[in-house]
Amino acid sequence: MDLRSFLLRRVFHSIFVVVGISIVIFCIARLVPGDPARMALGEEAPDEVVERLRQEMHLDKPIYEQYYYWLTGVLRGDFGRSLVTHQPVLQDIKETLPATMEIALVAGVIMVVLSIILGSIAAWYRDTVIDGIIRVMAYFGVAIPGFVVATVFILVFGYYWHVLPVLGRLSSNISVPPRVTGLLLVDSLIAGNMVAFKDALLHLLLPASSVAMASTFQAARITRSSMVDNMQRDFVAAERGYGIPERRIALRYLLKPSLIPTVSVLGLSLANIIETSFLVELIFNWPGISRYGMQAILSKDLNAISGVVVIAGLGFAVANVIVDLVVANLDPRIRLGGVKGA
């Protein structure tokens, strides 16, 4: 199967799935007891105002008609208004999404780099104390929930050592670079503002590491075992026979084939990253979509909840396609058709 039909099939699948999510979320949102219009306006609002909003929100129609209105709105990018910020949900999402993507990207970099380094070290020094330490760290890393990591980080780095900033995206005394992409790291580079870049990076370190923690260690374990497996292979023995130095074998010939399972695991932990960032953003007071979603969830802001869940599903689907492409690129043996068909 070639790339185009693979992508086409995945896109169709994703569309189907996102529509499905929207139905599930919509049903739950509308079936819970309580009048959304009343909740939006508060207890004191006069009845006729509430009634007008009910009609505006099509709440007086049967549920399938409500869904129709909602879906056609969503397809036009209209998720309705947030009850908390009183802005269109889509605009809120546009404003908050870059901050989250920044965390996700930095977390991704931390994960890839650290898991490869840790995994390679563990494989290189296999069955020694170093390997054992990394293994124990991995067991703990997987067992510690993201919100616990974040809380402990704040306690240790923020309150005791004061070495890293723990709240927000930028220190208050630093001017925000003009918004181009919304990613502060990129924006500050474009503006040539190195002070802001450094500050933004420091702010990112703790939240991103809390998000990356669990998956990093999981991927490091996988990297270790796949490297150890590959070390027994004939091609390594042949290279050894040619007298190529061990270090060079490890770095040049062993690493690439050993990374395939690592990438797959990182792909599988995408869900974990998105989930963890939901709680982590809340703790670090990070103005991203997850914190927005959590606030919506805590204040029962149904329009915003639906918007965030649909966006999360969409992002998850896109990220999965990317992972499949990367795996296929690393491993010529995997034909694209076989990735999901198995």
Partner: protein, 306 residues
Amino acid sequence: MTAVQHSKSRPEAVLGLNMKRQRFAENMGKYWYAFSRNKLSVVGLAIVLTIVILAILAPVVTPYPEHAGAFVDYDNASKPPSRSHIFGTDVFGRDIFTRIVFSFRGALLIALVVLSIAVPVGVLLGLIAGYFKGTLLDTVIMRTTDVFLAVPPLILALAIASMLKPNMMNSMIAVTLMWWPWYTRIVYGMAASCRNEYFVIAAELTGASKLHILFREILPNCLSPVFTKIALDVGWVILISASLSFVGLGEQPPTPALGQMVSDGAKYMPDLWWMTIFPALAIVVIILGFNLAGDGLRDMLETGVK
């Protein structure tokens, strides 16, 4: 091994009760061997057993069982760890250790309830979809599964829990709704590949009922990965439910829950660090215990006892 071979050469009737008992003991020994080859699994099992016993005996083993609910003692409030309160006390003067032990009950209960509903439902749906592969029933079930698997579970659980009243029951409902699809997917693959095996076709030809084929022929062949997944899932369920209670969507105060205690304590950081650190450690230990024991169980089931 020898006992099994003997039994083949001898008629079953001769096999006395003692012999059976001996064979059982021998099998248990093999299971234990497979499980305990990794010492960490044994550590995990020890942690799990300790936590379960503590949770069951909570009113007896904790020093201040009355602190598990609404209790106020301002004279002893906000005390750091000491001999009388090994993990310190919270701002209401309640013993943190007592509250942690009591919240183990909730954590274990959630895992038990969620898995004992989600697993049978998921397995049943997977079995049906796999056996009727290619029919409308298969499409409906598996596409629904796809939808549920397409959103990170915690997010959907958060969304669902938020729309219901925040309490223990509803957080269980939310997590259960997220959990069954994993089992459906596992069993689906196994059942779909089983359904063309000769033993299933033979059963169909002899006129066995659908129920018989589903439950007596196919199901036993799908169970091993299901048990493995259950073993590894307990820790995850506890983690997700702790996350829900961390944001206030689980057990409500004054009843203690691990996530809730962490978020409560976070308000008083860094001065009352013990209010956060000990519940956080408790979460890590309980999840670690179940993960390690689960790994051992997986090794045991995968290597199998012949």
